[in-house]
Subunit: 126 residues, 2 copies
Amino acid sequence: MLKRAPTNAELEILRVLWQRGPSTVRHVHESVDHVKPVGYTTVLKLLQIMVEKGLVRRDASARSHVYAAVASQGATQRRLVRDLVRRVFGGSTLGLVLHALHSAPATAPELDQIRRLLDEKKGGRT
Amino acid sequence: MLKRAPTNAELEILRVLWQRGPSTVRHVHESVDHVKPVGYTTVLKLLQIMVEKGLVRRDASARSHVYAAVASQGATQRRLVRDLVRRVFGGSTLGLVLHALHSAPATAPELDQIRRLLDEKKGGRT
DNA sequence: CACTAAGTACGAAGCTGTTCGTAGCTACAC
DNA sequence: GTGTAGCTACGAACAGCTTCGTACTTAGTG
């Protein structure tokens, strides 16, 4: 079963599920609608499709079904980064990182955080 | 005139134009077809659409028109990274970088390159 | 029981991206 | 001049994503 990456509208919904945890359609709709107006049944339909795709799980025991994300936010982000690296940087993760850093308005503490990660990696190589 | 990010198929074509420079449809088709079989007129149509979108420029002075990318590879990559950061990392470039580094099989020289970049940025802040 | 509110299911339309077949034009070889 | 090879233009089909309207179901209230 090959899973496709979530689409744009699907990501909006996943964002809510990751942030608020398992939610009803009403909950998700309220959150999404607040950011970008959209019909209730649109969100419902999306969630139904996402169930079929295996992106979310549905608990139908209560009258209002409760939906939860299947993949964690981290795993999904990793997936999307991998796709971008392949599509746009010919598989070079380094290319992506350099590009991102160039255009990043990073603060000093953030830079330190990256530096720490680099040190870890270096240590782990031996 | 708002420019949309290039689609998947469009990126395949841009990759050829960036690599080989201004090219005829035949040239582009041969390169793309080699990687992923596709009809000649498909590539032609795509290029025509890309002209309308402003993604490529066309020199129609010769019988075989010559197409060239409008935006540089770097600028396009930056654009796509920015989009991903907004869509998937809530605008946090740092989030993207950390994620990428975590899953990156970076070599020591590559890590050094990143470190150099970090030093530059740090220096530039004061 | 009858009514209403809140929920789910589903069909279908509109848009974009991708693909290709067909038609038509033109330079060149003979 | 005639034919052919190579090119551009264009319409149309198909697929995926997104959106919503409508129909159906059910729990609760009087």
